[in-house]
Each structure stands twice: as C-alpha cells, then as structure tokens.
C-alpha cells in the first residue's frame, strides 16, 4: 500500500512538469506583452524593453521555463504577481482555502441530494416519482451554472433577503455558491445511485434476504445501500474535480475571493506568474485528490485492493484465471 502511495506521489512530478510546460508554451503564443501590462500604455519602448530584460522575458522559452521550475523546486517560489508584486503562493493559499471550502460544501450538498433522489428513484422505479426525480436532476445539470447562480441570488437574496447576494464576509455567504455548484452535480449522483441500487436490488442475496422475511426498509438500509454506495463514493472523487472547475466560474458571479476568480482575473491582466501558479497548484490539488480517492476506493471496497495496488499485472493474471475457468 505504501509503495503504491509513493508511486502515485512520484507520478505528480511528470504531471506537474507536463501542466507547467503546456501553460508555459501557451503563454508564449498569447498576444499581449506582460512588460507593457506592468508599466502601462504610456511607457516608452525603452522602458518596456528594460522591463522585459528584468523579467527575463527576452530569454529563450526553455530557459524561462527552467528558471521557473528551479524556483519552485529549490525555494518553493512560484514567482511574484505582476500586479501586486506579492509572492503568488502567498496570494493563492488563502484563496485555496476559500475555494476548497466551497468545493467540499458543494460536493456534500450534491451528494446528499443526489443520493437521496437516486434511492427514491430506484425504489419507485418506472413510476411518476422516478420520472419527476429524473427531470429535476436533469434540469440542474442542463441549465448553465451561472444561470442557476443568478436564479438563486434572485430568489434567496433579492426576493427573500435570506442570504447575501455576493461576498463571503459571513458564513452565510458560502451557502449560495455551494448550493449552486452542488445542484449541478445532483444528476450525476442520482443516476449513479439509481442504477447502482437497481443492480444491487436484483442480486441474489437481496432475494435471499427477502425470502428470509426481512422488511423492505431493512433490506435497503442494511444490504442494498452499503453495496450500492461504492460507485457513488468513487464518483465523488470525479465530482470534486468538476466542482473545482465550476467554482472557477461561479466565484466571479458571487464575488468570492477564491482561486478561480484569482486565475480568471490574472488571465485578463496577463499576470502570467499568477496564472501559472494558480493552474499548477490546482493541478497539484486535483492530483492529490485523485490519489486520496483511489486510496479511499481500497478502504471502501477491499476487492479492489489487489487490482489497484498491483496494477495491470494482477488484473491480467485475474483475467487469465478467469479465462482458464471459462
């Protein structure tokens, strides 16, 4: 297990190098001179040239990239923001906390609502309740998140004055962004829960439990739900990544000072160190989340242990055994 975790952590290195290289290359093709952005439109060409030299922008891209990576590895230095002059890392970390809170809250809301709807849908399969649940969940998945955001602001802030329309000065400011992102993932949880529940409910051991005289609620609670939750738990990991992406857009609508808003602002300002730093840190967080999710799979479903930890070899062996048996 530890070997597996170390191996996965080592995978971070090529992933980070790949992400940073792609962004760095994209940066070189993007029009707009950062030196002019920093100095303003009135700066003379001489001043712009001097600034470019100071920032190392006249060096070949590979040298710039090498210097950047060296800074990160040796000093944990993601560069300084062109806009404020502050270290990018110090600007991103507090924002990462904000985005993280919203993302976790959103995933929790989405999972709770989605799983409940999925269970109801499965237990009432092919009835009007099933259809209704499907329509509701599909509605929130189909409508763009920013539209849902404006609708939620209108209802909860403008009409009923229950929640603030923007900002996170108070804890209640987190609710609408969480709800908005969470609702968009409801459909995915509902569908997975429903199909998983239906699959489990058709298993032999459920029939056996029924034959033994177990009540429906007991069967659902103790036999079906636990097994049906495995794919749901797995989808939480995937949704975490999606939710971080959703948060990036919605932070600008809700005026939330998160990483997403920071990156969006930095892109429009040609603030390359902030864009690079933000993207790299998000990539790092997502990779770590994926690792944790994979580890959680093993804890939730021990059957996966041999497959995941041993990788392809084991599964090949399993396949061979299965083939022989066939």
């Amino acid at each position: 297990m530890i070997k597996y975790i170390i191996k996965r952590i080592l995978y971070l290195i090529p992933i980070m190098l790949g992400v940073s290289a792609i962004i760095f290359i994209l940066k070189t093709f993007t029009p707009g001179d950062p030196a002019r952005v920093i100095l303003g439109n009135d700066a003379t060409q001489e001043q712009v040239d001097a600034k470019r030299e100071e920032l190392g922008l006249n060096d070949p891209v590979i040298i710039q990239y090498g210097n950047y990576i060296k800074g990160i590895v040796t000093r944990g230095d993601f560069g300084d923001s062109y806009r404020t002059g502050n270290p990018v890392l110090s600007e991103i970390l507090p924002r990462l906390k904000t985005s993280g809170l919203i993302t976790l809250g959103a995933v929790a809301i989405g999972a709770v609502i989605g799983v409940l709807l999925g269970i109801i849908s499965a237990l009432r399969k092919y009835t009007w309740v099933d259809s209704l649940v499907l329509v509701i969940s599909m509605f929130f998945q189909s409508v763009p998140e920013f539209v849902v955001a404006l609708v939620l602001i209108f209802i909860f802030a403008v009409n009923y004055h229950l929640l603030p329309s923007s900002g996170i000065e108070t804890a209640s400011g987190y609710i609408l962004p969480m709800l908005c992102i969470g609702l968009s993932s409801v459909a995915s949880y509902t569908r997975i829960t429903r199909s998983s529940m239906l699959e489990v409910l058709s298993e032999d051991y459920i029939r056996t439990a029924k034959a033994k005289g177990q009540t429906d609620s007991n069967i659902t609670k103790h036999h079906a739900l636990r097994n049906a939750m495995i794919p749901v738990a797995q989808s939480i990991g995937t949704n975490l990544g999606n939710s971080i992406g959703g948060a990036m857009v919605l932070e600008t609508v809700f005026g939330v000072p998160g990483v997403g808003k920071y990156i969006v602002d930095s892109i429009t300002q040609r603030n390359y160190p902030s864009v690079l730093g933000g993207a790299l840190i998000i990539a790092m967080v997502l990779t770590i989340i994926n690792l944790l999710v994979d580890i959680s799979f093993i804890l939730i479903d021990p059957r996966l242990k041999s497959t995941i930890i041993a990788g392809g070899k084991k599964s090949k062996k399993v396949k061979e055994t299965a083939a022989k048996a066939a």
């Binding site: 707009g32 303003g40 404020t84 259809s131 404006l150 602001i153 209108f154 329309s165 900002g167 429009t268």
Partner: protein, 545 residues
C-alpha cells in the same frame, strides 16, 4: 397517467415562472415604473451631478459594488493607474483645485488661489486650515513632495508625465510653485484629477515604503480616511470628521467597496439591499434595468467620444481616400448611437463631446446621412466594385458595435472582419498597426496634454490607440494650437481647424459619446462624477423619507 401529466405540467410551469421572474422583474412593471419610478426620468442627459448637496450625517455604511479589486489604493505611488484606485483614492486625497462638474469651472479646493508665473510654472496659495490624516496642518512642503513623488514614481502616466520637478519650489508655508514641461494653459484642469491628490512626506514615510503606503494609505486630507482592506473581500473608508470644508457634509459614516466582476450580480446586490451602489454597468445592460422600480438606473456621458480611426500606414486599401469616404457614407450614425448608448445618446457631430466647453458641432446630421449608393459609387471608382474586405480591431466591449457597423458596411459591399480581443492584446495589436479600422474611445474633455496624449508626436510610436499611428506636421501643429489656446473660445476655432484636417482626408469618423451607467438603491441620491466619469462616492446620501 393523469397525475404524471399534472406533475410534469406543474413542474414546467414552476421552472418557466422562475426563469421569467429572474429574467426581469420589471417586464410587467414597466408601465408602473415609467409613471412612478425614478428610472422613468432617465434621459440622454447627464443624470450625474444633478442632486443638491447633502446636509445630514448618518451612522450608516454605504456599500459600493465595484467590478474588480484594485491592485493598490493610491496607485500613483507605485506608478500605476486604475479606475478602482481613482474611485477609492479620490475620496482619501484632496486635490489643489476641483472642477465644478455641472459648470466645468475650476474652483478652489486645497488651494485658494493660483497664478501662472510663466508658461511653465503655476503658483498655488494654500488654505491654512487643512488637516492631514495625522492632524498636522497641510503645508507647501506636502504639495511639493507630492508633485516630486508623482514625477518620480508615475512619470509614465497621467500622474507625472507632464510635470517638471526641477521647477517645483516651496515659497513659504502656504505657497508652492509647481512646474510643467509643456505649455498648456488648461493644464490646471488636469490637477483636479484624482492622481493629483496631495499627501505629506511624514505620513507616507510612516506607512513604510511606497508599495505599503499605496495599499494602506494612512494619509491624506480627503473627505474620507482609509480604514481597512481585507484582500479579496472589501476595502473600507471612514468619514473624516475633521474635514476642512464646512460646506461639505459626508452622509455615510463608512463606505465599503466590494468586488464582483459580474454586472448582473452587482445589480442584484443593490436590489437585494446588500449594496447601495453598483458601479460600471454596461449601458446596454443597464437599459434593461431602467424599468425596474426596485433600483434607480442613471446614465451619463463623461467627455469621451467613440471614434472609428482608419489605418493609413501604407496599407491598401485604406490608403485610398475614396475607400475611407465610402465607409463614412455607408454608416448609419443614428443607428450606431442608438445601439451603443442604449437609446440614451445621439450621434457625435464633432470630434469632441458636445458637453465639453471647447467642442464644435462640426458636422450636420444631413451631411452624415447614410448613403449606400454613394458608398458603392466611391468603391467602384476606387476599383473595389466587386467588393472589399477590411479588418477591424477592437476591445471586447466593442463586439456589438462592430456587428452593427458590419451589417451597415455589408450593404455597400464591404465585408468587415471583426477581431475583438482583451485589453492587453488590443493595445499590442493597436500599437502594431495590425488593422484597417479601429474603434477607440477618446477622452478629450480638457485641453491638457495628458488628455491629448493620443496624438502626442513623441508617444505615437508606442501608444497610438487613439491615432492612426500616422500623423503630419499640419495635424501636430493644429493639436498644439488647441492645447496652447489661451481660452476655450479660441480653442473652439482651433478644434474646427483640426476637424478640417480630419475631414479633408477622412481620417476619423466620430461615432457617438461613450456613456456610463450606475445603479443605486432608489433612495440613494448624490451621484456625482470626476474625471473620466469615475463616480465620486463622497457625495452619496440617502434621501429622507
């Protein structure tokens, strides 16, 4: 089955209703609001600066929703220039002189008198009762320190480009001389701009270095003092209880600036009561809120006109004057103005906004009527009878306007390829001259070289987005005549001469005024503006019930 249908219908109805409700609360209320709501009074006229001054003080906090967070509050200290910094910093630092935003007259502020000693030196006599943030009295040393600092730290932009610190001088405790490097009698107008707010050396140094001072400006003698900046969330300023001017009363005890990029969210923050003022709402979008009785929408022009410049740097086909004239003839200026101003403004008949004191209505509306046949004939004559394709460069917010122009030019057989990009890319493209036509809003409301920098011969190779990256001795001379004119009447003649040159070669087409829109709670009054149409947050007040 029936139940299923009923539920489906009910659900669909709920969804539809919720979407309609969110789309516009005013759709069905337009008639009511037009008869009773303040939004109904919105006209093409300037609705800013129209209220009487406030006389009451309250303990309330005004929340102003801005589109973005500034990188610093006193931007000139770190050589920057940002709209949000101007709005916030303008409340903290007073200028030597002010501008009456209704009459345009330059009026005393920290200085009681001023006089030109020669073409380059302006002497100011200061009030003797102005207290800085720390309670010390403002002196001539502070004034000279400010202008020296602006010259050294903001030499690239409006803040310092035209200052000559070698001529600055402290005459006595209340008299200071400020030097300039150019001849411009109206340059005193520039000193009313927010980057020229006065600060004292002691106070700035007490803050630390310039970067720290710019972020937490515990200095200044303005109507408000800096209180707090929670990065990413808000900036708060508080009323200066020791303000020198007895004729001014700040209604709000505190003003809190929040930052929300999305304009619809800012509007809803006002509607929800979370903000009193939503700044920087696009005019077209604001027009959709004008009939909403729950908020007050104000539109105003601010001395900036949108121009369509032709690129004539050796580029075919724009070098041919007949092509340029054909573009002029193909345009429907009334339709362009109606679109761009959301129906609030009319076409610009002169290069300079009609509300500016030295503006000239150079063209008549008849002269600028759309004439597609004439445009086609000109193109035929120029050898483009089979059609012509030209490229347009613009900032992203000109996309809609270009689309209108594209449709009009298409009638004459001109295909317009639109390239709208973000500001840094736009500046780079404009400086590179990589376009046939370009739309730029030029702010020319005073005759100082900082405002007319678009034409500055020395800058034109690095900063030309207001110009065709092309000039001539005649044009340079005409511009110089406008800037150096002793008074506005003389300047009008010079502006007409400049327009003659523009017209002769069809260098630029005057489109329409640029307008801004601000949304406030219905009982908030006192919308006043400063240079470039920045809102002056210090004059807002809540109307007594």
């Amino acid at each position: 089955m029936k139940l299923k249908k009923l539920v489906s219908t009910g659900l669909a109805t709920v969804m539809a209703l919720s979407m309609v409700a969110c789309g516009s609360s005013g759709t069905n209320e337009t008639a009511e609001s037009n008869t009773s709501g303040e939004a109904a009074t919105v006209t093409a006229e300037n609705t800013a600066n129209a209220d009487e001054a406030n006389t009451e003080k309250s303990d309330e906090t005004l929340v102003v929703a801005l589109a973005s967070e500034p990188s610093s509050i006193v931007a000139t200290l770190v050589g920057e220039s940002e709209n949000e910094s101007s709005i916030i910093g303008g409340a903290l630092l007073d200028t030597l002189v002010a501008q009456d935003q209704t009459t345009g007259e330059i009026i005393p502020n920290l200085a009681t008198e001023w006089e030109w000693l020669d073409d380059y030196r302006l002497q100011f006599t200061l009030r003797d009762d102005v207290k800085n943030y720390d309670g010390d009295l403002l002196t001539a040393d502070d004034v000279v320190y400010t202008f020296n600092t602006l010259a050294s730290e903001s030499g690239n932009n409006d803040g310092g480009k035209f200052l000559d610190p070698s001529k600055n001088e402290v005459v006595d405790e209340h008299t200071a001389i400020i030097g300039f490097n150019t001849v411009a009698p109206d340059i005193v107008t520039m000193l009313t701009w927010t980057p020229f707010g006065i600060f004292s050396q002691d106070e700035v140094e007490a803050c630390g270095d310039f970067a720290t001072a710019a972020d937490a400006p515990m200095f200044g003698s303005g109507k408000y003092h800096f209180k707090e900046w929670v990065q990413g969330q808000y900036i708060t300023i508080e009323r200066n209880e020791d303000y020198w001017n007895p004729d001014y009363t700040a209604y709000f005890k505190e003003i809190k600036f929040t930052f929300t990029q999305d304009a619809a969210s800012r509007e809803m923050a006002v509607e929800a009561g979370d903000a009193g003022v939503a700044n920087d709402i696009a005019v077209a979008q604001a027009s959709t809120y004008a009939s909403n009785p729950n908020v007050k929408t104000s539109f105003y022009s601010f001395g900036q006109v949108m121009h369509l410049w032709m690129n004539m740097r050796d580029s075919e086909p724009m070098k041919d004057v007949r092509v340029r004239e054909a573009i002029d003839k193909a345009l429907d200026y009334d339709a362009i103005a109606a679109y761009q101003t959301g129906g609030q403004g009319t076409q610009s008949l002169g290069y300079i906004d009609k509300d500016v004191p030295f503006a000239v209505d150079y063209y008549t509306e008849d002269e600028r009527k759309q004439d597609i046949e004439a445009a086609k004939a000109l193109l035929e004559e120029a050898g483009y009878g089979d059609g012509l394709t030209i490229s347009a460069l613009g900032a992203q917010d000109t996309e809609g306007l270009y689309t209108v122009i594209q449709a009009q030019l298409a009638l004459a057989g001109i295909t317009l390829e639109i390239n709208t990009v973000d500001i840094p890319t736009f500046v780079q493209g404009a400086n590179g001259g990589d376009y046939d036509v370009i739309i730029v809003g030029e702010y020319l409301d005073s005759r100082n070289p900082s405002a007319w920098v678009f034409f500055d011969e020395n800058s034109i190779n690095t900063f030309c987005i207001g110009g065709p990256k092309w000039t001539s001795d005649e044009i340079q001379s005409a511009i110089s005549d406008v800037i150096t004119a002793a008074d506005n009447d003389t300047a009008k003649e010079k502006v007409a001469a400049l327009e003659d040159l523009f017209k002769k070669d069809t260098l630029v087409l005057n489109l329409c005024p640029e307008m801004k829109a601000v949304i406030t709670q219905t009982d908030i009054k006192g919308l006043t503006t400063r240079e470039r149409g920045f809102i002056d947050v210090t004059n807002f007040y809540r109307e007594a019930e």
